[in-house]
């Protein structure tokens, strides 16, 4: 098939899938948080409230699109579109299946994802600035300062994985697991190595902070700041910021699965060469199903964290990012280096 056409189809399918995933998350978040808080959650729109995301989207679109007076029109319009676009293209290098099941097979895939998270700061800053409101701006700048502080921890954690896998290519990091296999049924995933546990913990914490999710959503949640950088946005534009947050969560979850939990590889039982022949067509999509199951585990985990943990105060948050996570990530790298040096007898 013409490679250009294939690229277009893959990109379209993945964007479409992520849109649906975002809609699912809207529902799942409210339902799960409701259940955890011992209440029912949405149950009016459709059976079990399943049509709630539809209702939300329709409501948001039908609302009046108010542009605040004196807002910088170009940037006001650009910010939500930029945020949403970045959140969706972050998913490009993720391998969600065997070779070929990846939108963009790029050599520096992992660094590309860090690049996208660096750029998401713009969505927040521009949204806050363009609203011509001091409170939005303040919320936006605090959000941005938080995001850039935690990017360092995120990158530090990810470097540990790069050390173990020896490549920045997400495809190779996952294929590595296929090769190792583990002790028969134990997967050779990165998470199985205790030296990478601090890295995973730092990664998870930093990912929540990057996404401005609880327990790190103080800049958008404080009483006197309204809703932070998106105070002045209504209807469709607000929906875009909302979508960008969930799409970002999907991307970070997918990245966590790829880096630490073996990507699309099953627990040995579902590996491609072990599947019985009568499964037929299912075996082609089995790895992708496995991948999305793992990704959903992380996304549900994020919702669970949201329902459970209290918000961190801003200075506690910044202390955690700079004074705790960066040293932990660095110590992890040093430990990995020394362990490798000792075990391979470099001395």
């Amino acid at each position: 098939m013409n490679p250009v056409l294939l690229a277009i189809i893959k990109a379209a399918v993945v964007v479409f899938f992520n849109l649906n995933l975002v809609a699912l998350m809207v529902y799942l978040e409210r339902k799960l948080v409701g259940r955890i808080q011992h209440r029912v959650g949405p149950n009016r729109a459709g059976p079990f409230g399943l049509l709630q995301p539809m209702a939300d989207i329709v409501k948001l679109i039908l609302k009046e699109d108010v542009t605040p007076r004196g807002a910088d029109r170009w940037i006001y319009g650009l910010a939500p579109i930029l945020a949403a676009t970045l959140a969706f293209i972050g998913y490009a290098p993720i391998p969600f299946g065997p070779p070929g099941w990846q939108v963009a097979d790029i050599n520096v895939g992992l660094l590309y994802m860090l690049m996208i998270s660096s750029l998401t700061v713009y969505g927040v800053m521009l949204g806050g600035w363009a609203s011509n409101s001091k409170y939005s701006l303040l919320g936006a700048l605090r959000s941005s300062a938080q995001m850039i502080s935690y990017e360092l921890g995120l990158a530090g954690a990810v470097v540990a994985v790069v050390m173990v896998s020896g490549t920045l290519d997400l495809r190779s990091i996952v294929d590595d697991f296929q090769a190792q296999g583990g002790l028969g049924w134990l997967p050779g995933w990165n998470i199985a190595s205790p030296l990478l546990w601090p890295s995973f913990i730092v990664f998870s914490i930093c990912a929540y902070a990057e996404l401005n999710r609880v327990p790190f959503d103080l800049p958008e949640a404080e009483g006197e700041l309204g809703a932070g950088f998106h105070t002045e946005y209504s209807s469709g534009r607000f929906a875009m910021f909302f979508m960008a947050e969930y799409a970002g969560l999907a991307t970070m979850s997918a990245l966590a699965v790829t880096l630490y939990f073996g990507g699309w590889s099953g627990l040995g039982w579902f590996d491609l060469d072990r599947l019985p022949a009568w499964l037929g067509w299912y075996s082609t999509i089995a790895p992708t199903v496995i991948f999305f199951t793992k990704q959903m585990v992380f996304m549900v985990g994020a919702i669970w964290v949201r329902a459970t943990l209290p918000r961190m105060r801003y200075d506690q948050l910044m202390n955690l990012g700079w004074k705790v996570l960066i040293p932990v990530a660095t110590a992890n790298l040093v430990a990995l280096a020394l362990f490798e040096a000792a075990s391979q007898r470099w001395f």
Partner: protein
């Protein structure tokens, strides 16, 4: 190699089209009753006056500048981490010196209060 980046462009175009489309739809479909009150930015507090504002703004600049410096440091970590096993002891010592100097810098910034009131 450039060809593998093309799908990113396509994805970007699709995502921007969806996002732009939804914003456009919201503009077209939503009611349009502009009133003066609605256009006012949301305010329910007082902006602090005087030099308190300048003091607090410095923190943001410090955070941003320190972020740049540590980001550059990490930019050197990535290639080392990729070739870490091949570079063996020599690479380890090289990176060790680099890291040690930067750990000293980090400790200095901590002691000097660069991470305070962040």
């Amino acid at each position: 190699m450039l060809e593998s980046y093309f799908p990113i462009l396509v994805m970007g175009v699709f995502a921007a089209a969806v996002a732009g489309g939804m914003c456009l739809l919201a503009r077209l479909v939503g009611p349009r009753h502009a009133t003066a009150q609605k256009a006012e930015p949301y305010e329910c507090g007082m902006w602090p006056v005087g030099d308190a504002r300048r003091r607090f703004a410095v923190k943001f600049h410090v955070v941003a500048m320190l972020f740049i410096l540590f980001d550059v440091e990490l930019a050197f970590f990535y290639p080392w981490a990729v070739l870490f096993r091949d570079l063996r002891l020599f690479g380890l010592i090289e990176m060790g010196i680099f890291t040690a100097i930067l750990v000293a810098a980090y400790a200095y910034v901590w002691r000097a209060g660069g991470f305070e009131w962040d």
